[in-house]
Subunit: 294 residues, 2 copies
């Protein structure tokens, strides 16, 4: 008789499915401990398989980590909404169906916008926020894939899938691109129960959501004052997809946020510096102070 030991990991965690009303949501949950669960909200076109195990598994050591495919992503049913509000409705439906009444949220890029939205709308549900490589409503230069610094990668026919991701998420230095290769190798460890890649209709709806998110009414960034939760904002200083100036705006206008920036890195700074990021994120989440500084 052999005993199988399951290490909590996004390499091996089985994908689960939860039906809520008309949709079936794909998700994974692993890890555990006495701390609040951490809901992870994913980036543009990303699926459950795009979460770096070096980040999720380390954070899962002392808390449950929940990864989520929004509607129309991966194996979740439905249509990708063209607004952050629409995507947030699915997150709330999913958490309600799962019975989660309080959690922390790690939102990366697109996921960080949804995280801000639900933190403002449901303050009792979201206790702490980690916002990585993202922008507030009214942010500038959000995911303009047509600009030359990004378009050159999309136009390069030798770059598809993971190699393209490495160019987009990591800075144009030897050290950052090497970190990108290591990131890809970690993602590639998962070989079973994997997700379908997102198609162009996913990208189109999400880009539409970015364009709407750039719009604002009233005083720019004033609505960030509604997000009172302790927040950790993180970005790489060479992020071309959502420039770091958007993280500065979050740090300045969120009333209770610490900002951490990383050198020599782009959009995927949390994956490049996963040891530092998970150490900082865990210290922030573990702190019982009502103030963000940890």
């Amino acid at each position: 008789m052999t005993t199988s030991i399951t290490i909590p990991s996004n390499v091996t965690a089985r994908t689960q499915f939860l039906q809520v009303k008309n949709e079936t949501y794909a998700y994974r949950r692993f890890g555990g401990g006495a701390l609040r669960p951490l809901l992870c909200l994913q980036h543009f076109t990303g699926t459950l398989d795009n979460w770096d195990p070096a980040v999720t598994d380390t954070l899962a050591a002392r808390r449950e980590v929940i990864l989520f495919d929004n509607a129309g992503i991966g194996r979740s049913t439905g249509t990708v909404p063209a607004t952050i509000e629409g995507m947030s409705t699915h997150v709330l439906a999913f958490l309600g169906g799962l019975g989660v009444t309080t959690c922390d949220v790690l939102g990366f890029s697109l996921g960080g916008m949804i995280a801000q939205y639900i933190a403002a709308e449901r303050p009792s549900l979201v206790q702490k926020l980690i916002l990585v490589g993202t922008a507030p409503r009214g942010g500038r230069d959000i995911m303009h894939l047509e600009k030359p610094s990004l378009a050159k990668f999309f136009q390069d026919r030798s770059l598809r899938g993971y190699p393209l991701l490495s160019k987009l998420f990591f800075a144009d230095t030897e050290s950052s691109q090497a970190a990108g290769q290591a990131f890809i190798a970690r993602l590639a460890q998962r070989t079973q129960d994997i997700e379908p890649a997102s198609g162009p209709e996913v990208a189109a709806a999400q880009v539409a959501a970015f364009r709407t998110w750039e719009q604002f009414s009233g005083e720019r960034f004033a609505d960030l004052n509604k997000i009172r939760q302790p927040t950790l904002v993180v970005n790489g200083v060479h992020d071309e997809m959502i420039p770091v100036s958007n993280s500065y705006a979050l740090g300045e206008h969120l009333p209770n946020a610490v900002l951490l920036t990383y050198p020599d890195s782009g959009h995927g700074s949390l994956f490049q510096f996963h040891e530092s990021f998970t150490r900082q994120a865990a210290a922030f989440l573990d702190s019982d102070s009502p103030f963000a500084p940890y």
Copy 2:
């Protein structure tokens, strides 16, 4: 027979004097351990007595902390130089006289400019840098005490000494001003062997140094690339004396720097959030990585 136990603290550490060439420098050193000593370089008009024991004493738990009065400050002899270069020459003379051949440097405000200068000039001397509330050469809006947001405090005759410092160093919120009061109470714990306050001639020379530091030649901030040491940059997002945009410039142009910003705080964020700051600073200094992220 009674035994006196000396707790390493800037409340009680005796002021020492070191003669090097024509000058006698006042300094304090306390704490200890196997780690590199930490040289602390002080802000505009500040003396040894302006170092918050909540910061220095906590950092001194595992390393020697060295506080230094530059020429013409406190009980150091000589004339206050009107340039950062001139002040740096005194720092190097002092460290040479003390026999320190390698150290880390915490530079606050004016002290952060000197720290950058000596880190670039003497890379083998300075192993790691912590730059708080400071600006690179070519920085913007550095210590313009005549601008309305600062001048209003200098023109208020009810504000002198510590109460003025609290207004200048802390944000205009109830919570930040309360932290300012706590900071002042900590400084006031030292009642013996204290320093003379700086006079207007000190301020004039230091302001002249700020004006020169705002000037640059060639590409703005390009010379930051010379500072290869791991660096931690820290600021409060509401710093009116040296706005946080200068810390953003440091984070973006230093090749190996992590930036940390604090909410609800101004120039004196390290004192307001001393528990977080000393935890972060110690973790940064303790890391044996050649990269700044910790």
